[in-house]
């Protein structure tokens, strides 16, 4: 028996252009070529453009004197370099991101739980909050918050005060604890009493376990923990900590600590906005926990709060983390809107540096890489948490 056509015809090397492997390689080669041509064209244009106005691609300009001032963050002089200005911007951005992540999470968890509350009124108010925040642009919210609310607060002279706390359109001022000379001694005493308290607690606790008598370990441990530091405080000639109260000095408040309107604006804006998204995530995370879990836990006699803490939240967390990671990334990226309210963050400072130096390519590259790094860091941390929390399956 012989096949009617030679089975080898059509398969020999000369029809290589119909060979799947060749076609794949060809497609890639063409793609690479196109990318290469496009890149070359773009780079060529860039070089020409830079050349025509005498710019270079070097990052050396970062060493030059900045010449401008930065209102907030690390101390910055006009004689410092562009590079240091950039660092100040990065630190300011990180400040917003870190504090914002924490607060947004807290707001989100509470609001998320409230969304599931049996209380109709609370639920409605919170869901209105969530819907409004989710469906209006962050920038509009920021402008409203900053120009419409914060800047409409009374002026510094007419600030609202509660004791040493005060609130005005120049910011929120509050006292700060200032360590004095005797602070070192006192802190040693505190550490020692903490140690003592731990030892007492463990000893008494063991006794309770072994002998079955109620020894009240907590109570006995509290005594040295609070008593010793208090005693030394009183005995020391000078209080180890003094309260540094903010005071009006001419145009500004000196002493104490303060929250600038810009920082407060971007922070609050991000927290309220991201909090709404997190609330929704928390809500669906909790809903994803089967009802039987609550019932089983309730039937065991756990209180509502314990059910939530021991059974619902740990399980909901596993559902929540991936979308939460996204929201964290969004918050980090949205922190760049700080420029809208004049907070000198990474984007704001970069934009100034660009304007003063004219070095568009370098500044943008630097800025984008920094944001990429921040995003990457958040992803890595969250992925690590996520893989540690995986539920063990069969």
């Amino acid at each position: 028996m012989k096949p009617s056509t030679n089975p080898f015809s059509g398969s020999s090397f000369w029809s290589f252009w119909r060979d799947t492997r060749f076609l794949q390689a060809l497609a890639q080669a063409i793609f690479l070529l196109l990318v290469f041509i496009a890149t070359r064209w773009l780079i060529g244009n860039l070089l020409e453009a830079l050349d025509s106005r005498g710019l270079s691609l070097s990052f050396a300009f970062l060493q030059r004197t900045a010449g401008f001032g930065i209102g907030e963050g690390l101390t910055f002089e006009r004689t410092d370099s562009f590079w240091y200005a950039y660092v100040v911007g990065v630190v300011n951005t990180l400040r917003v991101i870190v504090v914002g992540l924490g607060l947004a999470t807290i707001v989100g968890i509470f609001a998320g739980i409230a969304l599931l509350s049996p209380n109709w009124l609370l639920r409605s108010i919170v869901s209105a909050y969530v819907e409004v925040m989710r469906n209006t642009p962050l920038l509009v919210q920021l402008f409203f918050l900053y120009f419409g609310i914060i800047l409409k607060l009374p002026s510094l002279q007419e600030r609202i005060t509660f004791g040493s706390f005060s609130l005005s359109q120049r910011g929120f001022f509050f006292p700060r604890l200032e360590p004095m000379q005797s602070f070192t001694l006192w802190i040693v005493v505190v550490a020692a009493s903490l140690l003592a308290a731990i030892v007492i607690f463990r000893v008494l606790y063991q006794r309770r376990l072994l002998d079955g008598v109620e020894t009240r370990p907590g109570l006995w441990a509290l005594l040295p923990l609070l008593g010793l530091p208090a005693l030394t405080w009183l005995l020391l000639p000078e209080a180890p900590l003094s309260l540094d109260r903010p005071q009006l000095d001419g145009l500004r408040m000196v002493g104490g600590a303060q929250l600038s309107p810009e920082f407060a604006g971007i922070l609050l804006g991000l927290v309220i906005y991201t909090g709404a998204f997190i609330a929704d995530i928390v809500r669906s995370g909790i809903l994803a926990v089967p009802k039987g879990q609550t019932e089983a836990a309730t039937a065991l006699g756990l209180s509502k709060f314990e059910v939530l803490r021991l059974v619902i939240l740990p399980q909901a967390l596993r559902v929540i983390i991936p979308p939460l990671t996204n929201q964290y990334l969004n918050l980090a990226k949205n922190s760049s809107l700080a420029v809208g309210v004049g907070y000198p963050d990474l984007y704001n400072v970069s934009s100034t540096i660009f304007n003063q130096s004219g070095q568009a390519v370098q500044v943008i590259t630097l800025m984008m890489s920094t944001y990429l790094l921040i995003s990457l860091a958040i992803s890595i941390v969250m992925n690590a948490i996520n893989s540690r929390l995986k539920i063990v399956e069969r």
Partner: protein, 246 residues
């Protein structure tokens, strides 16, 4: 006759306008095993869940171990910690190991030190036949093993009463037996038990009394002998013939 440990008088429950439990009277003595059965939707689960207030009854009275179930949170808490409950779907906590599942309630509700709770837990796990699974997670166990962990979890609170809501109906046939064995052993040891089940072999063997529910009412009740050999009501006969024909 000793003191009844559960007293239900004219218990009613509505879901919206739907009248799911329509006036149940029941008294359970200490050490008694009561089996409840009846067609789907007849209010068995709803009734048994009112006893530890997973559902709130809206009329009538429920008194458990001398404490009446009212809106008083303290009473509710007290009653719940006296009653263990086992569900059809096991409802183990998937994020906790078997041991933690069992020790959770003693530690948080009874405030036992962890060590004691674990010792007791291991004892109970041995009793239900799975001490070697203590460190595993629920997801790694078979259905029968999971239900036994669920029983152990309820027992760890040293309850006076155990409620079972169709504990075997989500299980494959081979596993049903291992769970029923544990329950039989428990009944023999003198535990007061309220069991919703259609395992008539189990009912015949250990039940003191049986209640047949339909449309939220007790249609008929009596000893297993009465019920199996001499049912009074047509509905009972029909239902029994259906489930025994399998």
């Amino acid at each position: 006759m000793s003191e009844p440990i559960i007293i239900c008088r004219d218990v009613h429950k509505w879901f919206g306008n739907f009248h799911a439990v329509r006036g149940i009277d029941m008294q359970v003595e200490k050490g008694e095993v009561v089996v409840i059965f009846g067609p789907s939707g007849s209010g068995k689960s709803t009734f048994i869940r009112t006893i530890n207030r997973l559902e709130e009854h809206q009329r009538g009275q429920i008194i458990v171990d001398g404490i009446e179930l009212t809106h008083d949170v303290r009473n509710i808490a007290a009653i719940r910690s006296e009653i263990g409950m086992v569900f059809q779907q096991f409802n183990l906590f998937p994020h906790l190991s078997v041991l933690s599942n069992v020790t959770m309630a003693p530690i948080w509700v009874r405030k036992w030190p962890k060590q004691k709770a674990e010792e007791v837990a291991m004892e109970i796990l041995t009793r239900v036949g799975i001490p070697e699974q203590a460190e595993k997670y629920p997801g790694q166990l078979s259905g029968g093993q999971q239900q036994r962990v669920a029983i152990a979890r309820a027992l760890a609170m040293q309850p006076k009463i155990m409620l079972f809501d169709e504990p075997t109906s989500a299980l494959d046939p081979e596993m049903i037996k291992e769970v029923l064995d544990v329950m039989t052993e428990l009944a023999r040891s003198g535990m007061t038990m309220l069991v919703v089940t259609h395992e008539m072999g189990f009912a015949r063997a250990v039940a003191n009394r049986m209640y047949f529910f339909d449309e939220g009412l007790v249609v008929e009740s009596g000893t297993p002998d009465d019920i199996f050999k001499n049912p009074q009501e047509d509905r009972t006969k029909l239902f029994l013939s259906q489930i025994l024909s399998h």
